[in-house]
């Protein structure tokens, strides 16, 4: 009962913070600087990326280094879908196009998630990590060779061959050209809420418990009849679909987009969001994705040093949170403060219990 209550509180706080942040952003939209406004939609995309990768790394316990690959599949299939609708079928309604693009992006990434998941999830540990990395690089490399255009109502796809009839949508290594910037902040918000509903419900379900059981002890989980591959697959594909949706939104936020944008570094960045937010902690992933995406903008004054600062912060945070000696020192410093709070808390809970008792 208590655990259930805790989960309920955690989930409500997560949703509450996201909704509050959305409302605040809309209220203070006018006061924001231009660069910060431009960051809003990317931030929502990176939050969805972090939440979805958290499902793979935190909940299912597999290290994936190719998450940006799914994002790029979503981005480019979303862009093609949107461009096809506009140029082939004259669909002018931007919201409709955006929704369809996001759905297409999610479905395509999901299909690739299944195709990639089948070989990848047979491997373990570091071998699995390197293969996801390899798939991420393959996706980027192949996308560099894909050309697409709309000829009348037909969608023409070309591989390595750049001479296509009609209006060009994808231009190989030069990426997507003349993309309509139709992404909206509200769509990003809806996507975050959607991903939270999916992930939090999944984690608290029978399926989620099975996934966590395979993470904690594969052999024990297998011996009580849990189909390990199936549950790992569910987590992996769900994450891929969410990443594809985030990718579609991300792609439609820029007027041009090249496949080189989704390099190995981007996968690593999302992993950093997840690890700094606390592995397996969805709220933490959301917060760290927001703060770390904004950080380079905020450090704009130190333009030359900002990535340096970022790197040093990353290393220091890891040492401070993981080294037993440093942790002991930090705890001894914070112990009096903690005691103060705990004392108050105890008094408060005792008071509350007293109330119930009466």
């Amino acid at each position: 009962m208590n655990a259930k209550k805790k989960k309920l509180i955690y989930n409500s706080v997560t949703f509450g913070i996201v909704i509050l942040a959305f409302v605040l952003c809309n209220v203070f939209y006018k006061d924001m600087s231009r660069s910060l406004r431009g960051q809003l939609i990317p931030i929502t995309c990176w939050i969805v990326m972090a939440v979805s990768l958290n499902l793979v790394v935190g909940i299912s316990g597999e290290l994936s280094l190719g998450h940006a690959g799914f994002m790029s599949i979503g981005a480019f299939s979303g862009i093609v879908a949107s461009g096809w609708l506009l140029n082939g079928f004259q669909v002018e309604n931007e919201t409709l196009r955006l929704v369809i693009a996001i759905v297409v992006g999610g479905v395509m990434a999901g299909i690739f998630g299944v195709l990639i998941g089948i070989p990848v999830l047979r491997l373990r540990g570091d071998y699995l990590a390197i293969v996801t990395l390899a798939f991420g690089e393959i996706i980027r490399n192949v996308l560099n060779c894909v050309y697409a255009s709309v000829d009348g109502q037909k969608l023409v796809l070309g591989f390595i061959n750049p001479n296509l009839p009609g209006k060009l949508l994808l231009n190989g290594p030069n990426g997507a050209v003349s993309v309509g910037k139709i992404a909206t902040f509200t769509a990003g918000f809806v996507l975050i809420i959607l991903s939270l509903i999916v992930v939090l419900n999944l984690v608290n379900s029978r399926t989620g418990r099975a996934i966590m059981a395979t993470r904690d002890n594969r052999i024990a989980a297998e011996s009580v009849g849990i189909n390990v591959t199936k549950y790992k697959m569910i987590a992996f594909v769900t994450a891929a679909v969410l990443a594809g949706m985030a990718g579609a939104l991300y792609g439609l936020n820029y007027s041009t987009l090249i496949p080189g944008k989704f390099k190995f570094d981007q996968s690593i960045n999302v992993l950093v969001f997840v690890v700094l937010g606390g592995i397996g902690n969805t709220l933490g992933a959301i917060i760290s994705a927001t703060v770390l995406t904004m950080l380079p903008e905020l450090l704009r004054e130190f333009a030359d040093y900002r990535m340096l600062v970022y790197a040093v912060v990353l290393i220091l945070v890891m040492i401070f949170t993981n080294n037993p000696t440093v942790r002991a020192i930090a705890e001894s410093i914070f112990a009096p403060v903690k005691k103060l709070f705990q004392g108050k808390k105890n008094a408060a809970t005792q008071g509350a219990q007293g109330g119930v008792g009466k």
């Binding site: 071998y127 798939f135 290594p173 592995i279």
Partner: protein, 295 residues
């Protein structure tokens, strides 16, 4: 004849990958961590050699030695400052630290040497003639041969070192069972430091060879060869020294032949696809030990 020339070039590139992969595989075998900063140590090594040749006017041999010394010191420092405090931590925390270290090195290089690509004085570094065989039909550049020779020499010396010396024995012990090695009086920290020192010195050699063959030097020069070499190490079975050599050479040959005969654009994709196929049939690489599961 073109095939032969491609093959030699592939073996040469593969030799460079193999030397880098040794650094990954040794560190993985002994410290059980993926050292993502290794690729950037290569870049630092190449920059130091560049400075030694261009600004300090040192002879090539001294430039090599200076680069190796600086990289060795760098490797030991990185290990001591960033990785040693995390010896007991979860592997993901160590991985993120290594990634942070990689960013740090890249951005330091960016601050020191600037973002513009530097042209590595390859001809000063290796003033070697091009060898012509079969009446000029097959031309092999000096750098190509040096890379292959360097790889063979390094491999022989390293294998002897690991199997014959006391330090090498300590390394094998630590990689087998760290706790038991400590109980037997082996200084685990010093052994790991030595491993980093050797790996980083080799990275300097690889950096110089790489930039002699492809003379564009940027702060991000090391990252792609780093990832490829890491792939090579996994390909051969991570933790295994002969595996790194075989994996590196095979990867280089596949890359060059794939680019020549299948598609230039898809060269990297072919390399990674081969890796995936190999791992599907041998989940721990070509020469890797099978993972034993205990209940």
């Amino acid at each position: 004849m073109i095939f032969l020339s491609n093959l030699v070039n592939g073996i040469s590139l593969g030799s460079i990958y193999a030397i880098i992969a040794l650094g990954y595989t040794m560190v993985y075998g002994i410290a059980k961590m993926l050292n993502f900063a290794h690729g950037d140590v290569i870049m630092v090594g190449a920059y130091i050699a560049f400075c030694a040749l261009q600004y300090w006017n040192l002879p090539p041999v001294l430039a090599l030695i200076v680069a190796m010394l600086v990289c060795t010191a760098l490797g030991i420092t990185i290990e001591g400052l960033a990785y040693r405090p995390l010896r007991q931590a979860a592997s993901l925390a160590v991985l993120i630290t290594a990634i942070g270290m990689s960013y740090l090195l890249q951005n330091l290089a960016l601050l020191i040497w600037g973002p513009n690509p530097k042209s590595f004085p390859a001809t000063t570094m290796m003033a070697l003639p091009t060898f012509s065989l079969f009446g000029g039909k097959l031309n092999i550049s000096g750098v190509t041969l040096v890379a292959i020779l360097a790889n063979i020499v390094i491999m022989l010396v390293l294998t002897t070192f690991i199997s014959r010396t006391k330090v090498g024995k300590a390394m094998r012990c630590v990689s087998e069972d760290r706790g038991a090695a400590e109980l037997m009086g082996i200084n685990v920290n010093r052994t790991i430091s030595t491993t980093f020192a050797i790996g980083s010195a080799l990275a300097a050699v690889a950096g110089i060879l790489l930039c002699s063959a492809y003379p564009t030097l940027m702060p991000t020069t090391g990252s792609m060869p780093g990832i490829k070499a890491f792939t090579a190490a996994v390909f051969g079975g991570i933790g295994s020294i002969p595996g790194a050599m075989i994996g590196g050479i095979l990867l280089g040959v596949i890359e060059i032949l794939g680019k020549a005969y299948i598609s230039t654009e898809l060269g990297d994709a072919i390399v990674f696809a081969v890796l995936i196929i190999v791992l599907l049939f041998r989940p721990t690489g070509l020469l890797g030990k099978p993972i034993r599961e205990k209940v």
